[in-house]
């Protein structure tokens, strides 16, 4: 597969691993935060840590939209399906996420709610057209990558005059989260030496919005693709910046990311959405200007207004270290629930619910590292 296989090549990986090993300065620690869950997933799935020198480690960031969706919003979605008997459409990633009271979209579905998995906002629209007697609500989540497709669906519903389609909007924005992580004060502060910047989010927003990272916080950032070679290549670029004491925004993922991003997608988002004053992020709390709501001209397609629901305040599971993990302060294995009460089958916290969450990726792909001594050289045979 073109543009995929080349970026998973073992020989090139070995070369990059050797280059990184050669580049890192002994006695210095390199703590690189990969912002995106896509990076986290790639790192574990391909076993990238095994190819890294001992003094370089990846710190997992909050860039998994499933992980950061607050429980209360999920409770609200379930209440929508339960109380208003709507057909709730959403991406598969969200199905198993635990809501309050041991529920999830999956248990709601098993209990009789009409919850359907879709692969595209187009499917949700098609469903609304096909079953005009049902109210179809698209439960929208995601960063700037997934937001434009929601905008397209809203515009189409408006153009077609579909009266049984609406969107429950939970879209969030990447830069504010990045800012929150970097701005956190002690004891929540973690030393981040460099950042692997978002991959597909950046195809939409471009590289420019990250300028504040080096400018305000003095931290280097390299936008990196999601293939494992991209991660390694960007890692090497960060090591070079760190060694040189520089802090710039660099773009490793030039084959898809430009400085200004996708203007058409940006225009769509600007038309259909508006910024919320603040929004809750699971693990990060309430962040200002960090999420989108449906703009006034589309208010009638806003499921929050069409189907008002009241939900009780939600509580995080006691003992879950997600807030610290999402800030990079702790590792999954630091949590005493990890692998005992909390596993991908019975997730308790945000980081275990999605395969892109740090705890889940660590559990599913990497927990052998804690269970037995790490292979000697940290390199492939």
């Amino acid at each position: 597969m073109k543009y995929i296989d080349e970026f998973r090549d073992q020989t090139v990986a070995r070369g990059l691993a050797e280059a990184i090993a050669a580049a890192v300065e002994p006695g210095r620690d390199y703590r690189l935060m990969e912002f995106c869950g896509g990076h986290t997933h790639a790192i574990f799935r391909y076993g990238v840590p095994d190819l890294m020198p001992a003094n370089l480690r990846f710190v997992h960031g909050p860039g998994c939209p499933v992980c950061v969706l607050p429980i209360a919003r999920l409770d609200q979605a379930i209440a929508l399906a339960d109380c208003h008997r709507v057909t709730l459409c959403t991406y598969g990633d969200l199905m198993r996420v635990p809501a309050s009271g041991g529920r999830s979209l999956l248990t709601a579905k098993a209990g009789g709610a009409d919850v359907r998995l879709v692969y595209s906002t187009q499917d949700a629209l098609a469903l609304a057209r096909r079953e005009p007697e049902r109210q179809v609500v698209f439960l929208a989540i995601g960063f700037e990558t997934t937001t434009p497709p929601t905008a397209v669906a809203l515009k189409a519903a408006r153009a077609e005059g579909l009266t049984n389609f609406s969107v429950f909007c939970n879209h969030v924005l990447t830069p504010p989260a990045l800012r929150a992580i970097l701005a956190a004060a002690a004891p929540d502060a973690v030393q981040i030496d460099g950042i692997l910047g978002p991959s597909h989010v950046s195809t939409v927003i471009g590289s420019r919005p990250y300028a504040f990272v080096p400018e305000v916080f003095g931290t280097p950032l390299v936008i990196a693709g999601f293939e494992p070679l991209d991660v390694m290549h960007a890692t090497l670029m960060l090591v070079h910046q760190i060694n040189a004491g520089e802090h710039r925004v660099e773009n490793q993922y030039t084959r898809a990311v430009t400085e200004t991003g996708n203007a058409k997608a940006q225009a769509l988002m600007a038309e259909v959405f508006t910024r919320r004053a603040e929004f809750e992020w699971r693990g990060l709390g309430w962040l200002p200007d960090s999420a989108l709501a449906i703009a006034e001209p589309y208010a009638d397609l806003d499921a929050e207004r069409r189907f008002p629901v009241e939900v009780a305040a939600a509580r995080e599971v006691k003992g879950c270290d997600c807030p610290s993990i999402l800030r990079g302060v702790k590792r999954p294995t630091d949590c005493r629930l990890f692998g005992t009460a909390c596993t991908p089958q019975t997730p308790l916290g945000a980081c275990m619910v999605s395969s892109e969450g740090a705890c889940a990726a660590y559990w599913s792909y990497g927990r052998f590292r804690a269970a037995k001594p790490r292979p000697a050289a940290g390199r492939a045979a």
């Binding site: 098993a110 009789g112 005992t340 089958q345 927990r367």
Partner: protein, 352 residues
């Protein structure tokens, strides 16, 4: 923490048997399914062959001819007076095995569960299945679980398959009825069907009748020992006695003549049938059998049946006759003569 790292030996949280429900993942082949099998199926149905946890059970059969039989169970409601789908799935298949005169050896069970089905109900069913299998001395040695989306099933379907061994000298088959043979039944007819109907809210009637659901292989063993030359055995389940007699007449190319007055029917079953406009001869049984044997052996066979608790109300109800038309005819209690025909349409839906 090392324990927590184990790949599969234990599960982070036990199944929520009190409040949990079946989810699609319980049939997905992953950890949720492994847990369901471990903590529910294997725990209740525990036996060495099942514990092999292979996709098949291995055993060395005793010498002799074997029989195999399979039956799906789709009864609604799942729980009813006198049993539930779990015990029924054991009895229903054991009986089909026993109707060859065989001693049942092993059972296999395939579950098709509907998303949203309460685990508490499933456990009750599996526990009942285990109790029935234990009581019968026939272990469930292998199984399978599938889960279908909500609305694509009806809670729980169970298909069981039984294997048994036939004693030497026994030759029982539906095509062996001969003119002159006696027709016997092991007890009152229609109890199961009426018990199920009494649970249908829409019918709105109440009765103390429970299902007769029972494993008949013990009775059959006693019968075969007393009269090895039994010609036919069959359990009159769906379609009741009438259907079974028509089947046997068709297979053997004979007619049958029975006497209504000789057919044992519980008064409450007769009353329920009056009420609903049903004919008890077409109502299902799950713990009764029809036996056909040479007339000369009929008394001996009847005595053996009556000596067994499950045959205490056994009766000789008629005889096989020559009839090129293959009619099952009945002298009515009233003194007239009528045909007891095949059922057209279904008298009672979903009773087994």
């Amino acid at each position: 923490m090392a324990d927590a790292m184990d790949a599969g030996r234990r599960f982070s949280a036990r199944l929520d048997l009190a409040g949990g429900v079946i989810e699609m993942s319980h049939g997905g082949g992953g950890r949720a399914m492994a847990q369901l099998i471990d903590e529910l199926f294997c725990r209740h149905l525990d036996n060495p062959l099942l514990a092999q946890q292979n996709d098949q059970a291995l055993f060395t059969p005793p010498p002799g001819r074997l029989v195999v039989s399979t039956d799906g169970h789709v009864i609604a409601p799942l729980f009813f007076p006198g049993g539930d789908i779990g015990s029924l799935a054991v009895h229903g298949t054991l009986n089909d095995v026993a109707m060859a005169g065989a001693r049942p050896l092993y059972l296999a069970a395939g579950f098709i569960l509907e998303e949203g089905f309460p685990l508490a109900d499933l456990e009750r069913i599996v526990a009942s299945m285990a109790a029935a299998a234990n009581a019968a001395g026939v272990p469930v040695v292998t199984g399978d679980t599938k889960v279908v989306e909500r609305g694509k099933g009806d809670g729980c379907f169970i298909t069981t398959t039984g294997i048994g061994v036939v004693p030497d000298g026994v030759e029982i088959s539906g095509d062996r009825a001969r003119p002159g043979d006696a027709i016997l039944v092991s007890g009152t007819l229609g109890d199961h069907g009426v018990a199920i109907l009494s649970q249908r809210e829409s019918l709105g009637f109440e009765t103390e009748i429970g299902s007769d659901s029972a494993a008949l292989h013990g009775l059959v063993a006693a019968m075969v020992e007393a009269v090895p030359d039994i010609h036919c055995l069959r359990d009159p389940t769906r379609g009741g006695l009438a259907t079974t007699l028509n089947e046997l007449a068709r297979q053997s190319g004979v007619g049958m003549q029975i006497r209504e007055a000789a057919i044992p029917i519980h008064p409450a079953v007769a009353a329920a049938c009056e009420l609903l406009g049903l004919d008890a001869l077409y109502v299902a049984n799950e713990g009764k059998l029809v036996a056909i044997c040479p007339a000369a052996q009929a008394e001996r066979l009847l005595a053996a049946m009556r000596a067994h608790p499950l045959g205490a109300a056994a009766a000789c109800i008629g005889e096989v006759v020559e009839d090129p038309h293959g009619f099952v005819q009945m002298e009515t209690r009233f003194g007239g003569q009528r045909i007891v025909d095949w059922l057209a349409g279904d008298q009672l839906p979903r009773i087994c």
